[in-house]
Structures are given as C-alpha cells and as structure tokens.
C-alpha cells in the first residue's frame, strides 16, 4: 500500500470516529486525489471535472458509514468514484464522450491535484432548493457551525430530527445532482 493509503485511511477512520479536524483534512486530501484521478479519466471534458469531484465527495460523505475499517480505503474510494463516473457517462451519453476503460487499476489515490477549477454547478443554489425542514438544519449545523442543540432550538425540531434532516438533506442534494440532466 502507498503512503497515501495509510495516511488517508488514518484520517478517514478518525473522521468516522467523530474527529471533525481529521475528517476535514481527509476530505481536502481526497478531493485533490479525486481531481487528479478524474482529470485523467475525462481528458475530453476538463470543464466537468470539478462538478464530478464535488459529486463524488458528497457521495463519499453520504456513504461513509459503509466503510469497513478492517478493509483498505483505496478500493472503497475507487468503487464510489467509478460508480459516480459511470453515472455521469450515462447522463451525458448523448454527447458521445470517450469512455476510458475503468477497470483494472486502483490508482485513484496515488496522485494529487490541488489546482481546483471553478465548479459549473453551484451546490449552494441546489442547497437553497431543498425543503426548509432539511435546508435550515444544514445551514445551521453545516454552514454556520452551530451545535445540534442550538439548531434544534432555532428550528423547533428535536435534536435527533435535526440530525436526520441533515443526513436526509445531503442525500437529497446528491439525488438532485444525480437526476439532473
């Protein structure tokens, strides 16, 4: 295993255990590697790369409970990135993008690219389109960084309802991206 696997997995596992600082570093490192991976995969559509980096990052966050820390991180990330890439090709099949072979290599974490382009799709706008009872908890907890207790007080929801709304809202966000043509 490469050093990136060990370092990233350590950050990921600490993040899954609730260490927000480690989790943030994991996501930043991961996005650089996903960007390099996707740039190689989409040589004919560089303008799509950043959108797909964000979509994959959101998917990885939403599915982070399916990571088994007894397993290596790379195949898990690769499978999710590949799944979202295939989904992307399916959406854009009309445009006849060249589909590079996707199997047989597990190099999605090997190189990093921190040179982020501007995303074409604005997730902030999609966030605004969520129903209020999902949007407000996300704004309070995830954007403004308030505690769940404060968010519960501000929304009049229970604490567990706030957590569920954040979780469902981020999944709904991913579904909006997925179903957009």
């Amino acid at each position: 295993m490469t050093a990136s696997e060990d370092q990233l997995k350590d950050l990921a596992v600490r993040g899954l255990d609730g260490d927000a600082g480690a989790y943030h570093r994991f996501l930043v490192e991961l996005s650089a590697r996903l960007r390099a991976f996707l740039r190689r995969r989409l040589p004919h559509a560089p303008e799509e790369v950043e959108d797909l980096v964000q979509e994959t990052l959101l998917a990885i966050h939403n599915q982070r409970h399916t990571f088994d820390s007894a397993q290596p991180l790379t195949p898990w990330v690769h499978a999710i990135a590949r799944y979202k890439l295939v989904d992307f090709f399916r959406r854009r099949s009309r445009e006849n993008l060249t589909l590079e072979p996707l199997d047989g290599e597990l190099d999605c974490l090997s190189t990093a690219d921190t040179d982020a382009a501007e995303a074409r799709r604005d997730l902030a706008k999609l966030l605004d389109a969520l129903p209020e009872r999902q949007r407000l908890p996300i704004v309070y907890v995830k954007v403004q960084g308030l505690s769940v207790v404060e968010a519960a007080r501000l929304t009049g929801m229970s604490e567990s309802a706030v957590k569920v709304a954040v979780h469902r809202g981020l999944k709904a966000l991913a579904a909006m991206i997925r179903d957009a043509t």
Partner: protein
Amino acid sequence: MKTDELARLLATGVERVDRRAPLRRAGIAVALGVLLAGALMAGWLGVRTTLGEDAGAPMLWVKFAFVAWLAAAGAIAALGLARPGVRLARAPVALAAPVLGMWVLAGIVLAGADAPERATLLLGQTWSTCPFNIAVLSLPVLAAALWGMRGFAPTHLAWAGGASGLFAGAVGAFVYAFHCPELAAPFLGLWYVLGMLVPAALGALVGPRVLRW
C-alpha cells in the same frame, strides 16, 4: 460553491458514525421478511402433517441443508456486494457448490433408476406448483433484503439485486420445504433451483432502479 467550501461544510459538526447501523437495519428487515414468509406459508399452504414421518429420511436433511447453505452463501454474496470495493472472494463458489452437488446426486439417482421411474424422480407430484410457491414465499424476503441493501452503498446494482434475490429465494425455499413433500434429488436440483432463480432474476431486474444512489 468551491470544493474546499464543500469539504468544510461536510466536515462541520460531524459526529461518530455508527458503522454497524446498515447491518442492523438489514438484519431487522430480513428477520421481518422471514417472519412474513413463515406466516404466509402457515396461513396459505400449511406445514405438511407428514413432515415428522420423514425425519428419518436423510434426503429431508439434505434438502434443508441445501437451501440453508444457499441462503447463507447468498447472504455473504449480498453483503459483499453491498459495500463499495469489497471483493466477493469465494462467494460465487459457495453458491455454485451446493447446486453442483445436488446435480451430481441427481445424476447418480437417475442413473440408478429404471426408465419409467425417472420421470417421477424429476417431476414428483408437485412440479407444476413448486417454483411458483417458492417464488411467492420469497417475495417478502426480497422486499426486505432490497430495503436492507438500500442502507448500504452497492455499486453493481444488478448484481446486488440479484444476490439479494438469490438469498430471498433460498429463504423462500427453506420455508417452503416445511410444506413440500418432495425428497428426490432430481426434483430439488431442477424445480427448487428454478424457484429460487425467479426472485434472483427479479432482484437483478429491479436492482438498478431501486438501489440507485
């Protein structure tokens, strides 16, 4: 929104993630599905009254072991397909082994039988209802297994649906075995396998639609 802002947003306020939750959800769902299939069997077909008389017949135990093995192997395959990037390892072999074993047994039985007997060994008394009954009994388990699968993140949706269906079919066959009077290996190797393949095909068909994320 820039990607760094997204990373910041996603990381803000995260708590410890319960990584056993999807397995628990799947377990509860499947338990409910099995109860429902059992209730359906008891109310609709009923447990065969002569079941106890066959307790001495080795084939009764072979039959139960056959479907129980398939259910276990189906569950292992489905759980592998439920998580991104997990290799299936020996699950396909574990699924194929009992079927091949049953076919070998069926071949031996058929080879040793007289020609007129062979049709009876293959068709039994109930060939026309067996696959249908197994498929029907497996439906609640299939629904439960797919719902459980949705708590994970399968990346090969038709395969994940198919494995869920195979598991559901084997559980349906296990439940049905309490009603079914057939004990001949040729019958089990043909009609039981067909019955289990119905929910497997159904799962593979609906998987890409219901399991998408």
